[in-house]
């Protein structure tokens, strides 16, 4: 993750809230942002992706990043949104919906201002994080989306909840 320092041009990011923390994705992978739609539960699916939604006639998996990142899951509110992105899964470009407690804005961030992930003091699996930025005086965790989906989805228990 040292290579992010070499990028000098500012990039556009989408900032959103997950369990009270501010996260960011590269804006280029975002296709659209939806209000909550009816969600179909997939029984026995990995716990971070138990839902399917209909996005303009396409069946799209819905991923709860909070579960994937090991955070507490708060109930859905009026601010809850679905961010539809394009991610690379096993080399295949796939549409994925991400649950977000709130979506803030699209902002520009200077890649030089991003700090690499500290080895200690992080609650989140470090391989999913591209770096830490600053925004409005607070921290902004920049996600590496392809890595979030790249690592073994099969690890999750798939058979029975009990």
């Amino acid at each position: 993750m040292g290579n992010v320092h070499t990028l000098s041009r500012p990039v556009e990011i989408l900032t959103l809230a997950l369990s009270g923390e501010a996260f960011a994705l590269e804006a280029t992978i975002v296709r659209e942002i939806l209000d909550l739609v009816p969600i179909t539960t997939v029984p026995n699916a990995p716990r971070y992706a138990t839902g399917l939604i209909n996005v303009r006639g396409k069946v799209v998996p819905l991923v709860d990043l909070r579960v994937r990142l090991g955070m507490t899951v708060e109930p859905r509110t009026i601010d809850t949104r679905i961010v539809v992105i394009e991610a690379t899964l096993d080399g295949e470009l796939t549409m994925v919906g991400l649950l977000a407690d709130k979506v803030y804005e699209v902002a520009e961030i200077n890649m030089q201002s991003i700090e690499s992930t500290p080895k200690v003091g992080m609650r989140w699996p470090p391989e999913f994080i591209r770096g830490i930025g600053r925004r409005n005086g607070g921290f902004l965790i920049i996600l590496d989306i392809d890595r979030v989906f790249a690592s073994e989805p099969a690890r999750e228990d798939r058979l029975h909840g009990s």
Partner: protein, 690 residues
């Protein structure tokens, strides 16, 4: 996915078709070596492979094919006989060409030389010895249909010299489509006329795929003193005036002048004395001929269009979305009270369902192309096994989704191999049993509702149910002495790890096999029925859906969620009585017409926590041999829908084969019945263990 078309890939796709055609033709030649048309077809296929191969840079393939083409050229010219040996080598050479084109780097070194040496050997023993494989005459340009405008006038004394214009005209007609009109303008007044003289001239068009030299050959013996002009014309529909001008029968100025006075151009030109009746007749004939050519070209263009499969998939997706949107529209219209809207919705409903059928139709191809590929398999394998077996086919015109056909290839190869190896007996054994020495394997396809039945029938030894049972007991597939009907026993063959062949051959009998076939057919949402009479043969019947894109399903509700169960697996629906429900805590069995059917509670399998509902239903499904009940909360009805596959994120969820979008826009999951039953059994035994 990129939509750019790689020309090399297009060439490969075309070459694949040519190879298939070549193989069929070669096998036909083997059956009837005297058929000249077949030889020509083989030669043309080789010629095209050579030519376009070189064009796309497959030089090795092209050079190799050249020698095989030469051999067939000799056959075509009657200088070499189409022997079994030649066909044998040609078949092997065809396989090699295919490798050279598909994966040139994978071609075994020295293979080309070995095959060419074989070929040279065969050519050598034929009547022509002098043809060395390096005798490379320049390749003829591929035959192309050209239209020539001909004008000829024989020498005045030609008939006296023994020429017969009628014969010349006949020869011209044999070259292709020929329209000739006689020009009598040259006939003099009677007193000036020499009775043996030839005063006539002929004008017209010839459309032929013969080279230009063929025309000269016709006039070879009279060419010296005659007038002959041959020019190429583009087949396009022309106006009479244009033709006359082009033929110098009338000047453009004169034509324009005449055009000022309507109505009938031809009649007018004659009346004006600008041109004779014959000339107009000739031009009219030419006009008609050219029109015909234009139509022929248009027809050939319309016959075939190559489209990328991904585009068809896109189209199918969009039509699927249209069907879904239309279902929502209908819901809205039915909720309101507008008769105009309702009739419009009905109209759109009809159109979209027609559009869907047409779109599905585009993906349909006749199964004959697949059947054709097995002729070689049967021929080669029966040789290897020392058996005499004929493959007969019927229903080649039966259409199936192209994807289904492609995915059927491997399972069918397996089933045919099994019939060849275990089914049909060796010729001597057959004779001792009073059967003809030659065994028969019959492949047939037939439509049956929304399904296609494919049958593989052999007149071999049949399957011995006693042996199957013994083997299954030995392998622990069934408890000793289990009560099974004959069809149930035959279904055991499809279980993993089952093989009755005592002898392991290279053809079959490795112990893996029939379960792989079953899995492949399951994936196509099909089933396998086995029927056999000991001593007189077996029949395997594959039942397959017409297409993979659309599914006929039963829509059910479990808790809040809705699921689609493929209708092909559903046998019946019954109500789960409160009594059965209560009692079922210990044993999940139903008694249906004195038959015990185990059932699975989808609520438990899907971890759905809602209050128990009073009128639960049981959908009885079957997968081959097993009948299992699935307990659901409500049966909503039958539902035809477009299947969408699940993403990689859900690749670990095996109980569903895909998802679909319902009329109200929500997503419903499609249950994969065999996998769900496996899953149910697994989780039950886990429950017992804990």
């Amino acid at each position: 996915m990129s939509t750019a078309i790689d020309p090399v890939e297009t060439f490969r796709a075309e070459a694949r078709e040519l190879f298939e055609q070549l193989e069929t033709t070669l096998l036909d030649i083997e059956a009837d070596p005297s058929d000249k048309d077949l030889i020509d077809t083989a030669f043309r296929a080789l010629h095209t492979i050579k030519g376009s191969g070189a064009m796309f840079g497959f030089d090795a393939a092209s050079a190799f094919t050249h020698h095989v083409e030469n051999a067939f050229d000799l056959v075509r010219k009657g200088k070499l006989a189409a022997t079994k040996e030649l066909v044998e080598v040609a078949l092997a050479a065809k396989d090699h060409m295919r490798v050279l084109i598909e994966q040139p780097e994978a071609a075994p070194p020295g293979r080309s030389e070995a095959l060419l040496a074989q070929l040279a050997g065969i050519i050598g023993i034929g009547p022509v010895v002098s043809v060395s494989s390096n005798d490379a005459h320049p390749p003829e340009p591929p035959p192309e249909r050209t239209t020539y405008r001909l004008h000829f006038r024989l020498a005045r004394n030609a008939m006296a010299m023994g020429a017969n214009p009628l014969l010349l005209l006949k020869e011209l007609r044999e070259l292709g489509d020929c329209t000739m009109v006689t020009d009598t303008d040259g006939i003099p007044m009677l007193e000036e006329m020499d009775p043996s003289g030839c005063y006539l001239a002929w004008d017209g068009l010839l459309s032929t795929d013969q080279p230009r030299s063929a025309i000269d050959d016709v006039f070879m013996f009279v060419i010296d003193d005659m007038e002959l002009s041959v020019e190429v014309v583009e087949p396009e529909a022309k106006r009479l005036g244009e033709i006359l001008v082009e033929r110098h029968a009338v000047s453009a100025d004169a034509l324009d002048k005449a055009l000022d006075q309507q109505p009938r151009l031809g009649a007018m030109l004659v009346k004006e004395g600008l041109v004779s009746t014959d000339k107009v007749a000739a031009a009219l004939a030419e006009q008609k001929h050219l029109k015909g050519e234009v139509e022929k070209v248009a027809k050939a263009d319309a016959a075939d269009i190559r489209v990328q499969a991904s585009r068809l998939d896109e189209l199918m997706d969009q039509v699927g979305e249209l069907v879904i949107a239309q279902a929502r529209l209908r819901q809205l219209a039915n909720a309101g009270n507008d008769p105009h809207l309702k009739s419009l919705v009905e109209e759109i409903e009809r159109l979209s369902s027609e559009l869907r059928d047409t779109t599905m139709g585009i993906r349909m191809v006749p199964i004959g192309s697949l059947f054709g590929r097995f002729r070689r398999l049967v021929r080669d394998l029966s040789k290897e096994l020392g058996k005499e077996i004929a493959l007969t086919t019927s229903g080649e015109e039966t259409e199936l989704d192209k994807t289904v056909i492609e995915r059927l290839h491997d399972p069918l190869v397996h089933l045919i191999r099994n019939s060849l190896d275990h089914g049909v007996e060796a010729p001597d054994i057959r004779e001792s049993k009073g059967k003809p020495r030659q065994g028969t394997i019959h492949l047939s396809a037939i439509h049956s509702g929304a399904q296609v039945l494919i049958k593989i029938t052999d007149d071999g030894a049949g399957i011995d149910p006693v042996r199957v049972r013994a083997k299954a007991e030995e392998n622990g597939l069934i408890p000793p002495g289990a009560e099974l009907s004959e069809p149930e026993i035959f279904q055991l063959i499809l279980q993993p790890g089952f093989s009755t062949a005592a002898k392991v051959t290279s053809v079959s009998g490795r112990g893996v096999g029939m379960d792989v076939v079953k899995r492949a057919i399951d994936q196509l949402r099909g089933t396998i029925d086995i029927d056999s009479t000991l001593g007189s043969g077996s029949t395997m019947t594959l039942r397959l859906p017409l297409t993979l894109a659309i599914i006929d399903g039963l829509l059910v509700r479990v808790g809040e969620g809705r699921y689609v169960i493929p209708l092909s697996a559903v046998e019946e629906c019954v109500e789960l009585s409160a009594e059965d429900d209560r009692r079922a805590s210990g044993r999940d069995f139903l008694n249906i017409r004195d038959e015990t059917v185990p059932f699975l509670r989808l609520k438990a399998l899907f971890n759905v926590v809602t209050d128990p509902e009073p009128y639960q239903k049981v959908v009885i499904v079957s997968t081959g041999d097993a009948r299992v009940g699935l307990v659901v909360d409500q049966i909503i009805g039958d539902y035809q829908t477009v299947i969408k596959s699940l993403s990689k994120i859900h690749s670990t969820v095996q109980t569903f084969s895909g998802a679909t979008i319902l009329g109200d826009g929500t997503v419903a999951l499609i249950i994969d019945v065999p996998r769900l039953i496996d899953f149910g059994q697994a989780s039950e035994s886990q429950k017992k263990a804990s």
